[in-house]
C-alpha cells in the first residue's frame, strides 16, 4: 500500500491528494476484511474440531456475505472505490510508460550514440570580427605613453593631445600628494596584498581608508573592494536575492546591471531618468500588490540608479527619487562612481548637491575616477557593510587591493576636503564652457545634463544609427589628428551588456586643470571637424 502511495507522491501533487484518499479508503476495506476473517475464525473455534477446508469454505461464505452486504448498503462507496483503484493501476502503468518516453536516451543504440558524437561539430570559440569590432581592437592597441592630466601622448600621435576623455576629473592620478602617499606605502608595505581580505589581505591602509570614507559620510563603517566595477555588481547581488524586487533605470551601466542579473531578482525597468515613468511603474506594482494581496514586508525592494549616468551624462533628480522611495517603501541603491568628488558644493556627491544627507541606503563609489586611484567603496549603515564582509562576492573571493591604492585614495580625500570647494567651482566652470561650445555647434546637440562634467552630444541630423556612428567616429579621429582626444561611444557602447543601446554619441570629459583657452581651442577643432563631416 505504501508503495502505491509513494508512487503517487512522485507523479503529481493532485494525484498525491487522491492517493491519500484512496489509501484511507482501501485501508478501511482491509480492516473490515480482517474483521470478517477474524469472526470466521472465532466461529470455527466455537464448534467441535472441523477439517481445515471447512474453514476455507466458511471464510469464502463470510466474505461473499460481507461483500453483498457492502454492495447492498453502500453501492456508491463500492463504485467510487473501484474507480479509484482502477485509476491507481492506470497511473502506475502510465507512469512507467512516461518514464520510458522521457528516457529518450535508452532508445538510442550505442552505435547511434557514437554517430551522434562523431557528427557533432563545435562552432568556433569566437566569431570573426566585424568592421566595428576591428576598429575597437585598433583603438585598444594604441598606447598611452605620456599622461599629464590635461594632455595625453599616445603611440599613434606625434605630439601631446588635449585630454577630453579620461574620468580623472580632479587630476588626482598625477597629483603630487597622491603620488607621495603611494610612494610611502609602497616602500613600507610593498605592492600586492597577496590574499583576500579575510585571510591576511587586510592591511592597515585599507582600514584607514574605510574609516576616512565612513567619516566623510557620517556613518560607522564602509567597505573597500579592489575594483570599481565589481563594487556595484557585488553590492547589488549581496542584498537582492531570488524573489526580491529591483526597479532599475534603463540606462544603468554594465557593472550595476551585472549585479542585477546575478541577483536573479524580479526586475522592472523605468525610462531613463524619468521620474514620472518611475511613479507609474511603482503605482503599477502597488496595484498588483493589492490585487494579489502580497505581503510587502516579505520582499526586499530596491530602486537602482546612478548619480551621473556613465553612458548618458545625465544627473539623477535625487529629491524626486527620495520622495518616491519614501512614498512607495523602497530602498535606494545609487552608484556615485562619477559624482563623488564632482557634484555638490563640497564635492561629496549627489547627496551634497541636493543637501539630502543619508537619504540613500546603499551607495557605491568607484575610487578610479575623481579619486584617481583603484578600487571601490560601498557605504551604508552597519548592517549594510557588515553583511557584505561575508556576502559581497568581490570582497570575499578576490584578493584585496594593493595597500598603496588605499593610501592614494586617502590622500585624494584629503585634497578634496582641503581644496574641494574651489576645485568643484573650477570643474563646473570648465563644464559650462564646453557645454556652451557644444551648444554653438549646430551639427551637434547636447544630451547630457548641463552641470555634468561628463558631456555627451549626438548628431542633430536624423540619419541611421550606423551612419551617425561612422560620422562621429570620423569626427573623433579628425579631432585627434588636430590635437584633441575625445571619445566616440558608438562602437563599444552598444546594447551588448546593456538594456538599451544608447544613440552613437561623442563624450567629452573636463577636468580641473583645463584652462579656458585650452577648451576654446578644442571647441574650434571640434567645430571644424563637424563642418567637414556633416
Amino acid at each position: 500500500m505504501s508503495f502505491i502511495i509513494n508512487s503517487l507522491n512522485v507523479t503529481s501533487t493532485t494525484l498525491e491528494l487522491q492517493g491519500t484518499l484512496i489509501g484511507s479508503l482501501v485501508s478501511d476495506r482491509l480492516r473490515s476484511y480482517a474483521d470478517s476473517a477474524a469472526s470466521a475464525l472465532n466461529g470455527s473455534l466455537d464448534g467441535p474440531s472441523v477439517p481445515s477446508y471447512v474453514d476455507a469454505l466458511l471464510f469464502l461464505e463470510n466474505y461473499k456475505e460481507w461483500w453483498l452486504r457492502l454492495v447492498r448498503d453502500d453501492p456508491v462507496h463500492v463504485v467510487v472505490e473501484t474507480v479509484l483503484l482502477f485509476t491507481i493501476l492506470v497511473v502506475i502503468w502510465r507512469g512507467n510508460g512516461s518514464k520510458k518516453a522521457k528516457n529518450f536516451d535508452s532508445k538510442l543504440t550505442s552505435s547511434e550514440k557514437e554517430q551522434l558524437i562523431k557528427d557533432w561539430k563545435s562552432t568556433s570559440l569566437t566569431p570573426p570580427l566585424t568592421d566595428q569590432e576591428k576598429r575597437i581592437v585598433l583603438r585598444n592597441n594604441e598606447q598611452v605613453t605620456t599622461y599629464t592630466g590635461t594632455h595625453i601622448q599616445t603611440t599613434a600621435s606625434s605630439s601631446l593631445l588635449l585630454n577630453l576623455s579620461t574620468f580623472d576629473f580632479l587630476c588626482m592620478s598625477v597629483s603630487e600628494d597622491v603620488k607621495r602617499a603611494s610612494r610611502e606605502t609602497l616602500q613600507t608595505y610593498g605592492c600586492g596584498s597577496c590574499g583576500p581580505r579575510g585571510f591576511y589581505g587586510t592591511i592597515k591602509p585599507h582600514l584607514i581608508l574605510e574609516e576616512e570614507f565612513a567619516a566623510v559620510w557620517g556613518v560607522n563603517e564602509s567597505i573597500m573592494y579592489s575594483d570599481g566595477a565589481s563594487t556595484s555588481s557585488s553590492t547589488v547581488a549581496a542584498f537582492a536575492k531570488r524573489g526580491d524586487l529591483l526597479v532599475i533605470d534603463q540606462g544603468i551601466y554594465e557593472g550595476l546591471l551585472t549585479g542585477v542579473t546575478l541577483s536573479r531578482s524580479n526586475v522592472k525597468t523605468f525610462k531613463h531618468n524619468d521620474m514620472d515613468d518611475l511613479r507609474e511603474v511603482l503605482e503599477k506594482i502597488r496595484r498588483e500588490d493589492k490585487r494579489l494581496s502580497r505581503n510587502v514586508l516579505e520582499q526586499r525592494r530596491f530602486i537602482v540608479t546612478e548619480a551621473i549616468y556613465r553612458n548618458y551624462g545625465s544627473i539623477l533628480p535625487l529629491d524626486k527619487l527620495v520622495a518616491l522611495k519614501d512614498e512607495f517603501c523602497f530602498r535606494l541603491i545609487v552608484d556615485e562612481s562619477l559624482s563623488f568628488g564632482v557634484l555638490g558644493p563640497n564635492g561629496l556627491g549627489i547627496t551634497d548637491l541636493y543637501n539630502l544627507p543619508n537619504s540613500i541606503e546603499i551607495t557605491t563609489v568607484s575610487l578610479e575616477n575623481a579619486l584617481g586611484s583603484v578600487g571601490g567603496m560601498t557605504i551604508g549603515d552597519d548592517e549594510v557593510v557588515d553583511h557584505q564582509r561575508l556576502s559581497g562576492a568581490g570582497y570575499v573571493f578576490s584578493a584585496s587591493a594593493p595597500p598603496f591604492v588605499s593610501s592614494a585614495s586617502v590622500a585624494s580625500l584629503g585634497v578634496i576636503k582641503k581644496d574641494g570647494k574651489e576645485m568643484i567651482k573650477k570643474l563646473k566652470k570648465n563644464a559650462t564652457t564646453v557645454v556652451n561650445i557644444i551648444k554653438k555647434i549646430k551639427q551637434l546637440s547636447l544630451t547630457s545634463s548641463p552641470d555634468s562634467p561628463v558631456i555627451f552630444c549626438c548628431l542633430s541630423s536624423s540619419a541611421s544609427h550606423e551612419s551617425q556612428n561612422l560620422t562621429l567616429q570620423s569626427i573623433a579621429s579628425e579631432c585627434k589628428s588636430n590635437g584633441v582626444l575625445l571619445v566616440a561611444t558608438g562602437d563599444h557602447v552598444t546594447d551588448h551588456l546593456l538594456i538599451h543601446s544608447p544613440p552613437p554619441m561623442l563624450r567629452l570629459t573636463v577636468n580641473v586643470l583645463h584652462t579656458e583657452s585650452m577648451l576654446k581651442k578644442a571647441g574650434v577643432v571640434i567645430q571644424k571637424a563637424c563642418e567637414k563631416f556633416c
Binding site: 558524437i117 594604441e142 603620488k179 609602497l186 616602500q187 551601466y253 526586499r300 586611484s373 553583511h387
Partner: protein
C-alpha cells in the same frame, strides 16, 4: 635512468619498450601489457621531458647548501609517488562526524533560543537586527543572516585579521591585535594609548609589540598568504626600483577603460610578456582577477552553449557562468572519467527540450584548487576534451608562477602543451605580488575578447604601477634580470612545500592535496575546532587560515597552510613544533585514531 631520444624509441619493438617502461617508470602502469606502441612511446617521452626539466631547475649547485639534504631522498620519492597517484582520500571518522553534527546542532539551537528570547523579551540582545523603516522589508533575513549573527560572529576574530606594523603580508609579518567590547559583534584594533581604562582581551605576551600609532601588533609567521614566490619579502630588493620609477612618470590610475584611452604602454608590454611566457599568441590584462573570470566567461559563451565545470571551481567562474546565460553542467572534481560521461551525454542529448546540438562546449577547470591543494589532472582532461572536440578553459589563479620547473603553471607541470588549452586564465595577485588577471589565448580569441569583455570595454584598466610590479616579477622568474633569484625562489617554494607536507602527514593529520602544491589544507571537521585551532596558533605566533561552512562542505572545516619561497627551514621547523602542540590540544591526529588523539 636515461631514456633514448624519441627517434630511437620509434625504432624499438613493443616488447623492448615494455621492458624499458617497467624499468624506467615509477610506478609502472598496471595495464602495461595492454598498451600499444604509440602509448608506450608517449609515456616514456613524457617521463623523460619532465624529469629532465625538473632536474635542471631543482638541483643545487656545488657552492649552494641544500637545507633539506638530510631528507632529500625521501622528499623526492614522495613527490614522485604523488605525481603518479591520486591524492590521498581521507574519510571522516565516525566520531568526528557525530561530534561535528552535534556541534552544529547545539550552535543552531542555542542561536534560535537566543533569538527567541532576544525578540520576545527584548532584553537587548546585541544581535537583534536593526528595525527597518515602516513598510519596508528587513534588509537581512533567512539563514544567511542567522548564520552571520549566531555562528560567524562568535569566531570572527579568526578572520579578517588586519596586518600592520609597517610591513605587508610578508612571511614574518605583524598582525594587529583586535578586541571586542560587544561579544565579538564588532572588532576594534587594540591601541595601547586609547584603551588604558578598558579591559583588554587579547593575550599579551612575548610576541606583542606596539607600532608607531600605539596599535598593538603580534609578530607572526605567515602561513596564510598567497605570497608563493616571496615577492612581498624581498620587494625592496627585487621590485622597488622599477616600480617607483614608473610612479614618477605614469598616473596611479588610468581612469579609463582599455578601449577608450586606458591602454598604457606598460599594459601592452605586460601582455606581450605574458603571451611569450605561456607560448600563446596574445594576452589580455584586466584590472582584477575575480573580474577576469566574471567578465570573460559571459563574453565567450552565451545561450545555446554549454559550460562543463569542475564541481569545486572558484566562485568567480560560477559567477561568470551564471551571468553568461549558458547552460552549466558539473562533473566530479578532477575526475576525467566522469567528464567523459557528462560530455557524452551532453553531446548525445543536445539542448534540453529542443534537442538541438550545442553550439559549443567549454570545459572549465582550475590549475590548483585553492581549498583542496590539489592540482588539476590536466593531461587526462586535455585528452578527453580533444577526443570530443570541446574547448578547455584553465584557471591558473594559484598555479601560475607557483608550479612547474620554470613557474609556467599547471601545463608545464603536467607536461601539457599550452597550445592544447584554448584559454589560459590567471591572476597576478598571488605569485607576482600585484593585482589583476590575464587571459592568454589565440589572436582571434584575444581580439574578440577585447571588443566584448566588460573588463575591457567598460571597466577601468589596471594601474600602470601594478603593471610594472608584474613585469619585474616576470623578469625575475624568467631569469631575465640576470640573477638566479627566480630559479632559487621556485626551488625553495617546492622544497618548502614538500617538506611541510611530509611533516604534517607524518604527524598523523588529515592533509589534503598533492606534493609539489604549495597549498596544504588540514581537516579539522568540528566547528568548534576552527576557532580553537586558529586562536591557539595565533597565541603561539602563527598566522593560519581556517575555513568553515559555507566555503567548504559542512563536515569538512579545515585549516589551510600556504607555504612561500620566503620561508626558511628554521621557520617551518619552528612552526611545525607549534602546530604539533596545537594538533594535540585540538585532537587532530585523525590518521592515527578515530578520536584524533
Amino acid at each position: 635512468m636515461s631514456i633514448p631520444s624519441s627517434s630511437t624509441l620509434r625504432t624499438l619493438k613493443v616488447a623492448e619498450l615494455r621492458s624499458l617502461c617497467s624499468s624506467a617508470l615509477n610506478p609502472v602502469p598496471s595495464n602495461l601489457n595492454k598498451l600499444r606502441k604509440a602509448d608506450l612511446i608517449e609515456l616514456l617521452e613524457a617521463s623523460d621531458s619532465t624529469e629532465a626539466a625538473t632536474q635542471s631547475t631543482y638541483e643545487y649547485d656545488e657552492d649552494e647548501v641544500d637545507p633539506y639534504a638530510d631528507v632529500r631522498e625521501r622528499l623526492e620519492a614522495l613527490a614522485k609517488y604523488s605525481a603518479a597517484n591520486p591524492p590521498p582520500e581521507h574519510h571522516i571518522t565516525l566520531f568526528a562526524a557525530f561530534t561535528t553534527y552535534l556541534g552544529y546542532a547545539v550552535l543552531i539551537c542555542v542561536g534560535h533560543l537566543r533569538d527567541f528570547f532576544g525578540l520576545t523579551l527584548s532584553i537587548g540582545s546585541r544581535y537583534v537586527p536593526a528595525t527597518p523603516r515602516t513598510g519596508v522589508a528587513p534588509l537581512l533575513k533567512s539563514w544567511d543572516n542567522f548564520y552571520n549573527r549566531r555562528l560567524y560572529h562568535r569566531i570572527q576574530d579568526c578572520f579578517n585579521r588586519p596586518v600592520g606594523g609597517g610591513e605587508g603580508a610578508k612571511c614574518r609579518m605583524k598582525v594587529m591585535e583586535r578586541v571586542s567590547y560587544d561579544g565579538n559583534k564588532t572588532m576594534i584594533v587594540a591601541n595601547r594609548a586609547a584603551d588604558t581604562d578598558k579591559p583588554t582581551k587579547f593575550v599579551d605576551g612575548q610576541y606583542n609589540e606596539t607600532d608607531e600609532d600605539g596599535d598593538v601588533v603580534r609578530r607572526c609567521l605567515n602561513l596564510g598568504s598567497y605570497n608563493y614566490l616571496g615577492f612581498a619579502d624581498d620587494w625592496n630588493d627585487t621590485c622597488e626600483k622599477d616600480v617607483l620609477s614608473v610612479l614618477d612618470r605614469a598616473p596611479v590610475s588610468c581612469s579609463s577603460p582599455r578601449v577608450e584611452v586606458g591602454t598604457h604602454e606598460l599594459h601592452r608590454e605586460l601582455e606581450v610578456l605574458v603571451a611569450r611566457f605561456l607560448g600563446k599568441d596574445d594576452a589580455l590584462v584586466l584590472n582584477m582577477g575575480f573580474n577576469t573570470n566574471a567578465t570573460t566567461i559571459p563574453a565567450l559563451v552565451s545561450k545555446g552553449d554549454l559550460i562543463i565545470s569542475d564541481q569545486l571551481n572558484h566562485t568567480s567562474i560560477v559567477s561568470g557562468a551564471r551571468a553568461s546565460g549558458a547552460a552549466v553542467r558539473v562533473f566530479k572534481h578532477n575526475d576525467h572519467n566522469d567528464l567523459d560521461k557528462v560530455l557524452r551525454e551532453a553531446i548525445v542529448m543536445g539542448m534540453p527540450r529542443t534537442r538541438r546540438p550545442w553550439n559549443k562546449i567549454v570545459v572549465m577547470v582550475e590549475g590548483i584548487y585553492s581549498m583542496e591543494g590539489e592540482y588539476c589532472n590536466l593531461k587526462n582532461i586535455v585528452k578527453v576534451c580533444k577526443q570530443y572536440g570541446v574547448y578547455l578553459y584553465l584557471d591558473e589563479a594559484h598555479s601560475i608562477g607557483a608550479m612547474g620547473p620554470t613557474g609556467r603553471g599547471c601545463c608545464e607541470y603536467c607536461g601539457v602543451d599550452t597550445k592544447d588549452v584554448d584559454v589560459l586564465m590567471g591572476t597576478f595577485t598571488k605569485s607576482f605580488g600585484g593585482m589583476g588577471g590575464y587571459i592568454a589565448a589565440s589572436q582571434d580569441v584575444v581580439d574578440y575578447l577585447r571588443t566584448k569583455c566588460a573588463g575591457s570595454i567598460f571597466h577601468n584598466s589596471l594601474s600602470p604601477i601594478v603593471c610594472q610590479q608584474i613585469i619585474t616579477a616576470f623578469k625575475v622568474i624568467m631569469g631575465e634580470d640576470g640573477t638566479k633569484f627566480g630559479r632559487n625562489k621556485l626551488r625553495a617554494l617546492r622544497d618548502n612545500s614538500n617538506y611541510m607536507r611530509m611533516r604534517l602527514t607524518d604527524m598523523g593529520l588529515h592533509v589534503l592535496g598533492n606534493y609539489d602544491s604549495p597549498i596544504m589544507p588540514v581537516l579539522l571537521y568540528n566547528p568548534t575546532k576552527i576557532a580553537a585551532f586558529s586562536r591557539e596558533c595565533f597565541k603561539r605566533g602563527l598566522a593560519v587560515v581556517v575555513v568553515g561552512f559555507p566555503a567548504v562542505p559542512i563536515l569538512m572545516s579545515r585549516a589551510r597552510f600556504c607555504v612561500s619561497a620566503g620561508h626558511t627551514r628554521e621557520d617551518l621547523d619552528d612552526a611545525l613544533v607549534k602546530i604539533e602542540e596545537v594538533a594535540d590540544l585540538c585532537c587532530l591526529r585523525y590518521a592515527k585514531s578515530t578520536f584524533g588523539m
